[in-house]
């Protein structure tokens, strides 16, 4: 997330007021610090594993209704209890993990293709193509995020596919601006001039020379967009848009269980906690990846010009 963007700047020793707080108020010993630092990795690994293998391993049908045991709290049969139709909350949570990651990764991929690739193509083509493409990007950027996704989901219909496309279009402008900024920055570099002097064409330079050099910027931007994509998907399904009513996405689970929150808070808390843990873990991992890949803070260029 761009809001966690830490400015990697050396602390100025000369500052008389010592405002740098590299050393926090509480000092945590090395091993404990490492253990704490590994938590996000563990959570993301667990989420990925659950998304891939969970539905098969659990062996519980997330749609099976046990009407005699509705809105039950956790028990031996139902580890996280049942929802208002007597469906196993844990089984639904597991399927929801897969759907969340699918929608998130799919949305990022679509945004990369629509914003990044088309952005590069438009920038390389230059002239009116670039002007028109970026005018359109500006239009989409000026739309309030949720509203755009809302309209797109309604226009494209229900289902995971349309939701993914809607998410992709919503987040595409971020990648489009990175594409334009990095393309024009790289164009002025010596290696591009060298390639030009060897007679390489515009497109050859773009694909074989520039693209590999700027892929890092896109990877880090993708790690920023991924958690936002996942949250937006859950907001959409929470509002009753997006996937079919029956699909156990986290947002839909939250919306449905919220009506019975007094009798069975666990059915609401489970997806809320899952969503929040996954989001923060992905954001923290993205932060670390960004510091590692791009110590010069070039990443945010173009994201919010």
């Amino acid at each position: 997330m761009d809001r966690t963007a830490a400015k990697a700047r050396p602390a100025d020793e000369a500052s008389p007021l010592r405002y740098d707080n590299a050393q926090g108020p509480v000092s945590i010993p090395g091993l404990a610090r490492r253990l704490i630092a590994s938590i996000p990795y563990v959570i993301v690994a667990v989420a990925v594993f659950v998304a891939i293998a969970g539905p098969t391993l659990s062996g519980v049908d997330p749609f099976e209704q046990d009407l005699l045991n509705r809105n039950q709290g956790p028990s031996d049969t139902y580890l996280l209890g049942t929802d208002h139709l007597g469906r196993d909350v844990l089984a639904r949570l597991i399927v929801g993990t897969r759907l969340s990651l699918e929608a998130g990764l799919g949305g990022v991929l679509v945004a990369l293709l629509l914003g990044g690739l088309l952005g590069f193509a438009a920038s390389a083509a230059g002239g009116p193509a670039e002007t028109v493409f970026y005018a359109f990007v500006d239009l989409i950027r000026a739309m309030p995020g949720v509203l755009l996704a809302l309209l797109l989901v309604v226009a494209l219909g229900a289902g995971l596919g349309p939701v993914t496309i809607a998410l992709g279009v919503t987040f595409a402008p971020i990648f489009a601006h990175v594409a334009r900024a990095t393309y024009h920055r790289e164009l002025a570099m010596d290696y591009v001039t060298a390639a030009e002097s060897f007679g390489a064409g515009r497109w050859r330079i773009l694909f074989t020379h520039i693209l590999p050099n700027v892929s890092g910027a896109f990877v880090t931007q993708a790690t920023i967009v991924l958690p936002r994509c996942i949250v937006t998907e859950s907001v959409l399904s929470f509002l009753g848009l997006g996937v079919e009513p029956d699909t156990p996405t986290w947002g839909r689970m939250i919306a449905q269980a919220a009506q019975y929150i007094e009798r069975n808070p666990v059915a609401v808390l489970a997806p809320v906690i899952a969503l929040s843990l996954l989001t923060i873990s992905l954001a923290l991992l993205g932060d670390r990846l960004r510091l590692r890949l791009d110590p010069r803070r070039l990443v945010d260029e173009g994201a919010r010009p």
Partner: protein
Amino acid sequence: MTSRFLMIAASALRALLLVLGITVLIFVLVRVVPGDVVDLLGIEGGLTEEAKQQMRQELGLDRSQAEQLLIWLGRVAQGELGLSIRFQRPVADLIVRALPTTLTLAFWSFVIGLTLAIGVAVAAVIWPRSPLPALVNAINVWSIAMPTFCAGILAILVFVLWLDWMPLLGNMVLPCVIIGIDVAGQIVKPLHEDLKETATAQFVRTAHAKGLGRAAIVWRHILPNSLSVVIALSGLVLTGLVGGTITMEVLFGLPGIGKLALDSVLGRDYPTIQAVAVLLAASVVAINAVTGIVARLLDPKLRT
């Protein structure tokens, strides 16, 4: 002076063009939807095929898309937003009725968020050895980890159901505080970073050397330097608040613009969706234009 005027005029023109483009885009998006309001009403009211055709004719839905677009643009230009098909009331009425709720919500959320962010960030720079810098991170992490609708549900569970401190429906305090904390989370960290950076400047050393206290240095010398950052972040946050109140309105039963947008989208109420969508998009464009202009007027580096 003339260059300033030109800059403002150019911004305004750009904003106007953007709004026009968005209007067309929204029109296209809304009309792509398969099935129209007449179909929906037909299913509910059991209308015959002839009755449906007649209704479409009355609503102008039988004309070509391009014609409908031109007619609608012409009406909007005259300040006429049309009639809501669903509620059988002028769209302008519905918007005027919903606007105060959303504006109140957005205003107080923004005030709470900005106050909290500036307060914590400034205090964290004045007392860097206290737990306050950790609080900066905590607020930031909270706003990433807790989407407002999740925070809303937790708040309902704790403050409404368990503690029984306040009612659920029509509650304005919880939504404002929840969105406020979210807003603070977006502002506090970049602001804190910027304040820390300014703290290393030479004029801060000068102020220190002449015997000024820490708090006075931060308030009088460092914070004013970060004004442009505060304005830029405020613009970002305000655009996020447009439409960002929708989940809170749904959760707490507040009849605001977000709820109106959602209801009209779900009910295929074209005139209302279009009007609300254009209103929201226009607010975003306006906020961006105004913050851009203010930032340029204030910052000598951006002045051209």
